[in-house]
Amino acid sequence: MTTTQAKRSARSWPSGWFGVVTWLLGGLLLAFIVLPVIRLVTTSSVASLHAAASTAAVRDATLLSLQAAAITAGIATLFGVPLAYLLARGSFRGRSVIQSVIDLPLVVPHTVAGIALLFLLGRTGWVGAPAARLGVSFYGSQWGIVAAMLFVSVPFAVNSARVGFEAIDPRLERAARSLGASPWHSFRRITLPLGLRGVLTGAVLVYARSVSEFGAVVIIAYYPATAPVEIYNLFLQSGLTQSASAAVVLLIVTLATFLVLRTLASGQLLARVDRAYR
């Protein structure tokens, strides 16, 4: 504790004209983020927020968004962590190719991703057709929404967990193996607890990315509408002021859930999770 404090006090602010310029540029950027949010929040009265929140369409859309984003975070973590571990530990051929594939969704425009997914998951698609025979439809369903969210957000799960795993001394696993732990046992008892912060951070980022996703979702599932889609509808139908109240409701809900999850992931409650692992 004392060393962290010492480090903090030893850290010096940039001074002189360089300090002024860094503060000025940084401050402008902060204002650019904060001002629209403040303007948005101040347009809506408490009464209009209450009205928007009690509208069935807005409420359903918000709940759908939260639910789909939570499911997406779960799926992304379940499938992302093994891949992250392989990328962190393996020095196999094709490793960089796999890493590029993982990063691909970051550069694909989200509407393009939605169209591509629709080709695959639509009623005549490679996956969509057999799924339809089993009674599962992606087009215009929650599964389609989750698929769209997953596609655009999964790089965050893999990369965050990978960075977490890479920071762990590989000798710890070797020590665990020599002490009698199987590969799974040493992963569960050593690597996963030590990389848990990266894994949880990845899950929170996936959640945040998913809850705010519009482009890919609107193409694969215009209805049922997620919160961003519903707000877009309101904007088209009733204009700027009408959509603002719903927007603020979504903003408050997503921001609140994001902050709670991030606090969970960043250590306050992590210690308890950590202990539960033993």
């Binding site: 000798r171 070797r174 020590a175 193996r177 020599s178 732990a181 046992h185």
Partner: protein
């Protein structure tokens, strides 16, 4: 008592990492004996340990422990305790949980003896602490306890003392010696430090560039290194290159009669600096092959002092600090320098000095071709 059926037997072991090839290595470590693998950095020492532990794929060879073939067993089933250079303790577990990790992973039915081990290693009071809060020496004790807690059939120690400061290292070295003598587990200890090797090892295996150069009892390898690299690793200083002809070896001004048997042509000579004999210069020409030199620098590193001597070839003598006054050695004064037969090791040098006094690559190339003389004392 050392017994063969409880030891480690390595035969023809080889492994590959990129362009580096280790082996083939063949070794035997009897129960109750400590084999020290001595070699310079990058010689493949750690790789050898990791291959024995099963943490690295091997290309060829057989491993057997206590009479059982373990070649194809995964690391978790080999029952080999491993201690790393910087302890590699699990940072999220307490000291006690670190030591209990092995028995728990093995689902040991009997109550594990980790409490006893902690007490034996003098770290019982640290049981509840986090590894991060421990000193280097304490961490290494915990690492030892953790490795011993699985009641291993073999202990592998990868430079466990080299990251510690001098006093801690000496403490822990003593503890390690006692412990290894007590547990009667065969142990392989890897180091690049000659003092450590000779104080801990019963047997030595010298490894250079992934190849095993010489194995045998520590004392006999130290006294009779088989090649120039091994000689250097064991504290022999280079005297230089010379020629052997008609019963004598000439190196610069030195003419050695006693060392020439069986040698012919270019030779590469080494000497023990602590065996160099210094005498006041005598007026009559000495007939014993000694030469006259001027005292150069005297470096006091108590209790020893190192004296560089201006002569051809250049020689350095190592002696007790207190003897310097007795011999009245002062910089610039002449002194008679003698090299007794036992202090010399002369190797036949087939290719001769390509680049004189080159300590690096050229030395290695020569080392591989250099042959020990059949008799040099």
């Amino acid at each position: 008592m050392p017994t063969a059926d409880r030891g480690l037997s390595v035969s023809g072991l080889s492994a590959q990492a990129g362009s580096f090839t280790l082996g083939p290595v063949s070794l035997d470590v009897l129960a109750g004996r400590v084999l020290v693998v001595l070699g310079p950095s990058g010689a493949g020492k750690t790789m050898l340990l990791e291959t024995i532990a099963g943490l690295r794929p091997q290309q060829a060879g057989q491993l057997s422990l206590a009479g059982t073939d373990i070649t194809s067993l995964p690391p978790e089933r080999r029952r080999i305790g491993l201690v790393f250079q910087d302890a590699a303790l699990f940072p999220h577990l307490t000291v006690k949980e670190n030591v209990g990790f092995g028995p728990r992973a093995r689902r040991a039915a009997s109550p594990d003896g980790s409490e006893d081990l902690l007490r034996q290693l003098g770290i019982a009071h640290l049981a509840g602490r986090s590894p991060r809060s421990l000193s280097g020496g304490e961490q290494q004790r915990v690492a030892l306890a953790r490795a011993l807690a699985i009641q291993p059939g073999l202990l592998l120690l990868d430079e466990p003392l080299s990251a510690l400061d001098q006093p801690t290292r000496e403490d822990l070295r003593t503890l390690l010696q006692q412990l290894l003598a007590e547990v009667e587990i065969p142990a392989v200890h890897v180091t690049h430090d000659r003092d450590e090797a000779l104080s801990i090892g019963d047997d030595l295996a010298v490894i250079v560039g992934g190849q095993l150069r010489q194995t045998g009892p520590a004392a006999s390898i130290a006294a009779e290194p088989a090649d120039p690299d091994t000689a250097r690793l064991l504290g022999w200083s280079e005297l230089g290159y010379g020629t052997a002809a008609s019963g004598t070896v000439r190196i610069g001004q030195l003419v050695l009669r006693h060392a020439a048997e069986g040698l012919h042509g270019p030779v590469h000579a080494f000497y023990r600096p602590e065996d160099v004999e210094l005498r006041p210069t005598a007026p009559d020409a000495p007939a014993d092959g000694s030469i006259t030199a001027h005292v150069g620098r005297i470096v006091h590193t108590r209790p020893l002092a190192r004296i560089t001597l201006g002569c051809d070839p250049p020689i350095a003598a190592l002696m007790f600090d207190r003897d310097i006054d007795r011999l009245q050695l002062t910089a610039g004064n002449p002194v008679q320098v003698g090299l007794p037969p036992g202090s010399l090791r002369i190797f036949q040098d087939r290719i001769g000095p390509l680049i004189r006094r080159d300590s690096g690559a050229a030395g290695k190339v020569r080392g591989e071709r250099g042959q020990p003389s059949p008799e040099d004392r």
